[in-house]
């Protein structure tokens, strides 16, 4: 940050002013630019976060038309004793563990391959095609894959049953109904969706490797494999670590996928803590928003602890 501030041209004239004056001047000249950001960020990001924290200590029920009472940590106590909550955390964790490796390594491989394509036009075509899914509205991605996985009209099972003859209609894999298979089915969809976008991150990382480094290694007789483990992977490591943390955050908090693909079925593997929160807040009973907020906060705290832990181990390895 500090190096971004270069010496002020008329510093001698400014030095006669006291320090607070300079700060006030800087404040007046810079903060108008930040008003829009602060308006949205404070109004619809910070405020909702604080608001939901406050809710989580109350017995606020949306439909009972009564003023909420402060009940302290009761909601948290109830949630922690619920098997459903912990099951929700567990399901989210299993999905995340399946999801992250493919979301990191498939794009990494794609990027390494695209990076080596010498013809610029061909390389651009690859990039554009890979980026197409990231331009499709999220819910429509999920609709598309509901079709893909469908046992009757879905093309995947059509190939497995009618073309390859590996299964018949009775024992064909039910990609979204089987409670174990569904983790992989949804993860596979997410890889499809994120492939191009994540490839771009790795391409940016690869572009920062000085060109003479691989050339020199090649002169020394290093094969592709050794070059990857010797040079490339170390240059890409920061990206891998950042993406791991970021994708951990998004995978643990997945909800739209689950709503569209499975709905609110408590027995499905997709009924994670986010679904539990939404179910309690907007669907069931008197819409117990206070309790739902507590579930949301417990989930968020759990995630933040893991993220802090990830930062800690990644930092110590640097």
């Amino acid at each position: 940050m500090a190096q971004a501030l270069s010496p002020e041209p008329h510093s001698s004239a400014r030095q006669s002013r006291p320090g607070w004056w300079r700060t006030a001047r800087d404040f007046i000249t810079s903060y108008p630019y930040l008003i829009p950001v602060l308006f949205f960020f404070v109004g619809w990001q910070l405020l909702p976060i604080v608001q939901s924290l406050r809710l989580s200590f109350t017995d606020d029920r949306f439909l009972d038309n009564q003023a909420p009472n402060w009940i302290g940590l009761d909601n948290y106590r109830t949630a922690i004793q619920q098997g459903l909550f912990w099951q929700g955390i567990k399901r989210a964790l299993i999905f995340t563990a399946i999801f992250i490796p493919g979301m990191i390594f498939i794009p990494m491989i794609a990027a390494i391959l695209v990076d080596r394509v010498t013809n610029n036009k061909v390389a651009t075509v690859y990039r554009i095609i890979l980026l197409i899914p990231s331009m499709i509205p999220a819910p429509l991605i999920f609709v598309l894959w509901v079709w893909m996985y469908d046992n009757y009209i879905g093309p995947i099972n059509y190939f497995l049953v009618d073309r390859l003859g590996w299964f018949d209609l009775a024992n064909a894999p039910l990609w979204l109904e089987n409670n174990i298979l569904i983790y992989f089915s949804i993860a596979f969809m997410e890889w499809w969706w994120g492939l191009g976008y994540h490839t771009m991150f790795f391409l940016a990382g690869l572009a920062s490797i000085p060109r003479d480094l691989p050339d020199a290694a090649r002169v020394d007789g290093a094969g592709e494999w050794r070059m990857f483990w010797g040079i490339t992977i170390w240059r890409l490591l920061p990206i891998i670590l950042v993406l791991t943390v970021v994708r951990f955050g998004s995978a643990m908090a997945v909800i739209t996928e689950y709503i569209i693909m499975q709905g609110f079925d408590r027995n499905s593997s997709t009924y994670t803590w986010t679904m539990y929160m939404y179910d309690e807040a907007f669907r069931t009973g008197q819409q117990f928003r206070g309790y739902a907020a507590a579930i949301g906060w417990l989930g968020a705290l759990f995630m933040l602890v893991v993220v802090a832990f990830l930062f800690y181990i990644f930092r110590s390895r640097d």
């Binding site: 940050m1 971004a4 270069s6 700060t23 800087d26 000249t29 810079s30 630019y33 930040l34 829009p36 950001v37 949205f40 960020f41 109004g43 619809w44 990001q45 909702p48 604080v50 608001q51 939901s52 794609a110 695209v114 080596r116 394509v117 651009t124 890979l130 980026l131 197409i132 990231s134 331009m135 499709i136 509205p137 819910p139 429509l140 999920f142 609709v143 598309l144 894959w145 079709w147 893909m148 009209i153 093309p155 059509y158 499809w192 492939l195 940016a204 050339d215 002169v219 007789g221 943390v245 955050g249 909800i255 986010t274 929160m277 939404y278 928003r289 907020a293 949301g296 968020a300 995630m303």
Partner: protein, 304 residues
Amino acid sequence: MIASHVTTQMTTGKPAETHHRKRRIKWGTVARHAVLILLCLWVLLPLAWVVLLSFKSKYDGARRYIWPENFIDPIFANYQYILSQPRAVGPVGAVTTNSITVTLLTVFFGTIAAVLGGYALVHLRTPGKVILTSFLVASMFFPTQVTALTGIFQIQQRLGFINTTWALMFPYVALQIAICVFIMRGVFQTVPQDLVDSAKVDGASSLRTLAGIIFPLVKNGIVVVVIVLFVFAWGEYLLALTLMNDASKRTLAVFVANSTGGVGALDWPRTAALYILAILPALVTFAIAQRWYMKGLQEGALKG
């Protein structure tokens, strides 16, 4: 490639091995393109399947086989049906207007906020830069959309924005503002501070510097921000579903996602046609802006 090839020959002095190496490199190229083409097929085939479905007749659309016995006649009939009789398939017209409104508002205000904010965080003497930046970073690791959903609902409710579609832009911009500011910050950092300072010496105000000197240099980065906001707003589901009780107040993406039963007026081929129409705007935007988008990404948008 050629240079290193020659060097290898010179250092080892074994032409036979060079020949061997040459052949291996060629195999590598073949394998590389084979894998990449496979990945591209993986991306394209599901979409091609939907396009094909949108041209099928009602009968073929409900069958297992992929290639239809009969295409619908005329070939664009399913699209025509959606476009000419939107009433028959529910509030398509209304939700499309809603989507356009909220997307344009989100893109407009989000881009302005991100450009001005990124500029202030890089090129101005902004007190509290570090605190602001760390708040924005922290927000990216917090599951706001889930955990604060109850809070967002309360705030919108107090402002009277439940069932007010355009007001979705407030949480939309807020949820994307951190990432957008960071994209712009990365791009602004590629603009030398000297350029900003010399403009200041020449007596240009900071706004003038931004509009006249910096803006042309960060255009590509702005394209990236526009596309990020566009894709998000056009495809957001959870908030549009939760904050709008009335189905006709929701957005096109929610409508399409919720109307896939494959029966009645919306049989599978017509649903597929609606689907293609719903994903086209973002794809067309991308196709038009693709060149600047790629440049923007390379110019530091990904450093954020």
